[in-house]
């Protein structure tokens, strides 16, 4: 494993970066899309079951299937990394929309009343009261999404997208277990880095939690 890493250092670092990008980009885009959708679902009772059921349905689809179907829907090339990004964005939205909707629904009524009494309305109340209170739950959801994205990106090696998952296919073709093991370890490392970043970001966004205690 060490020799392989020495011989292929540059290539492995590049694969690590690509893997990180392919996992982070869908997470960020997905989060940005899921916030307004989650708000809609929490605000309008009739929207909620529709959105949640659609999210559940999308989450049911196996990732390989989604990767393969993508080109025929968005007209990309079959080997394009965009397929992976779009597919993982769909998963992230499907997971986060429900988390965000439920988090917003669980904002205590007295907090909301207090905010209204202080003159918060509409978008201002959402951005400055409801959303910050939902942050810890959103962080928990984002951690799950990040960990799953890292694993799912590696499946992209099957449709020819070059990243850490390529170490699995390479190791299998060469019949060398240690290359596969290196890929697994680097995936776990990446997942760990992302997880720590999300937790720290969450803490910075919720400074009041420490101010009170």
């Amino acid at each position: 494993m060490i020799t392989y890493l020495q011989d292929h250092f540059q290539q492995t670092v590049e694969r690590f970066y690509t893997h990180a990008w392919l996992a982070v980009l869908p997470l960020v885009i997905g989060l940005v899309l899921a916030i307004p959708l989650g708000w809609l679902a929490s605000r309008y009772r009739r929207v909620y079951p529709g959105v949640i059921n659609l999210a559940g349905l999308l989450y049911t689809l196996p990732s390989v299937a989604l990767f393969v179907i993508m080109p025929s829907i968005i007209h990309t090339k079959i080997l394009s990394p965009i397929n992976v990004v779009v597919a993982l964005t769909i998963y992230t939205v499907a997971l986060m929309v429900r988390v965000i909707a439920d988090a917003l629904l669980s904002v205590p009524a007295d907090v909301r009343s207090a905010a209204v009494a202080m003159g918060f309305t509409g978008l201002g109340r959402f951005l400055r009261v409801d959303l910050p209170i939902a942050v810890p739950v959103i962080v928990a959801g984002a951690r799950v999404a990040a960990a799953s994205n890292v694993g799912l990106v590696s499946v992209g090696a099957l449709i020819g997208v070059n990243q850490l998952g390529s170490l699995f296919t390479e190791g299998f073709t060469l019949d060398v277990g240690s290359i596969v093991l290196l890929g697994i370890l680097l995936c776990v490392l990446l997942a760990l880095i992302l997880d720590t970043t999300i937790v720290l970001t969450g803490r910075r966004l919720t400074t009041w939690q420490r101010a009170v205690s």
Binding site: S154, G177, I184
Partner: protein, 250 residues
């Protein structure tokens, strides 16, 4: 979109050992075999840990650690590791099934344990006060109350297995993943797309099936379908994503 139907519309692809029905059956076989082992291992363990509270830290820790492992990498690694030591007939089936079982366990285990733990302590105390023994409390109070969560664990475990079994075509397993992998190597996109659609449909149908079973098995007193007056309690299922029992599909 049209290319997807090219392959499925050709009747030659619907018969023989490499036809669609045969591949669907194979996929179902792997899924149920693995799921049976998962339930056999994870259900008793989850019930034990949930009921006694012993080993809960170890379970939460190992479930999280397993989640960080890339399924595809684990699959390839285990196959490389043990397939050389097995007789040829088992060399590809056994390691794949083993990995499917390993990956399926955390969802059922943590959901079962969390479901039992989440049972209202007042209900448990009342059962004890009525003179129920430990096992009666478990089977008559804790299990029925935890049923929605346990079944949602089985559901996500099953989806995980269906998805990973597809990838396992890469390490020579049969099933619907064959269309995707073979299509890829033959540069035949319509075959790949057909495989993808079939796997998607299979996952949805199986999911609906378990959802149906869930409605039949879960006591109406637990889901709140029974109630007519008072505020409706939200079914426990809603919070399952926060309980961490939902394992993303591969």
């Amino acid at each position: 979109m049209g290319v997807i139907w090219d392959y499925l519309g050709n009747s030659a692809h619907w018969s023989g050992p490499e036809g669609v029905p045969a591949r669907v059956l194979e996929h179902l076989e792997y899924t149920f075999l693995a799921l049976a082992f998962v339930c056999l291992i994870a259900l008793p363990l989850g019930l034990f840990v949930g009921h006694t509270g012993r080993g809960s830290v170890a379970i939460a820790g190992s479930a999280n650690a397993l989640r960080a492992l890339p399924d595809f990498g684990l699959l390839v690694y285990v196959v490389l590791l043990i397939s050389g030591r097995l007789p040829a007939s088992l060399a590809y089936l056994l390691p794949s099934i083993l990995v499917l079982v390993i990956l399926g366990i955390p969802a059922v285990l943590s959901a079962t344990y969390a479901g039992i733990q989440a049972v209202d302590p007042a209900a448990r105390d009342a059962a004890k006060g009525m003179g129920m023994t430990g096992s009666q409390v478990l089977w008559r109070v804790e299990v029925p109350n935890a049923m929605p969560l346990i079944l949602s664990g089985v559901r996500s475990s099953m989806l995980q297995i269906v998805a990973t079994a597809t990838i396992a075509a890469y390490v020579s397993l049969g099933g619907l993943g064959r269309f995707i992998l073979d299509g890829q190597s033959q540069r035949d996109y319509s075959q790949m797309a057909a495989g993808a659609v079939l796997v998607g449909v299979l996952a949805i149908v199986l999911d609906l099936l378990v959802a149906g079973i869930q409605r039949l098995v879960v006591s109406p007193g637990v889901t709140g379908r029974f109630r007519t007056a008072g505020p409706r309690r939200r079914p426990v299922l809603i919070s399952s994503s926060q309980e961490g029992s939902v394992v993303p599909t591969t």
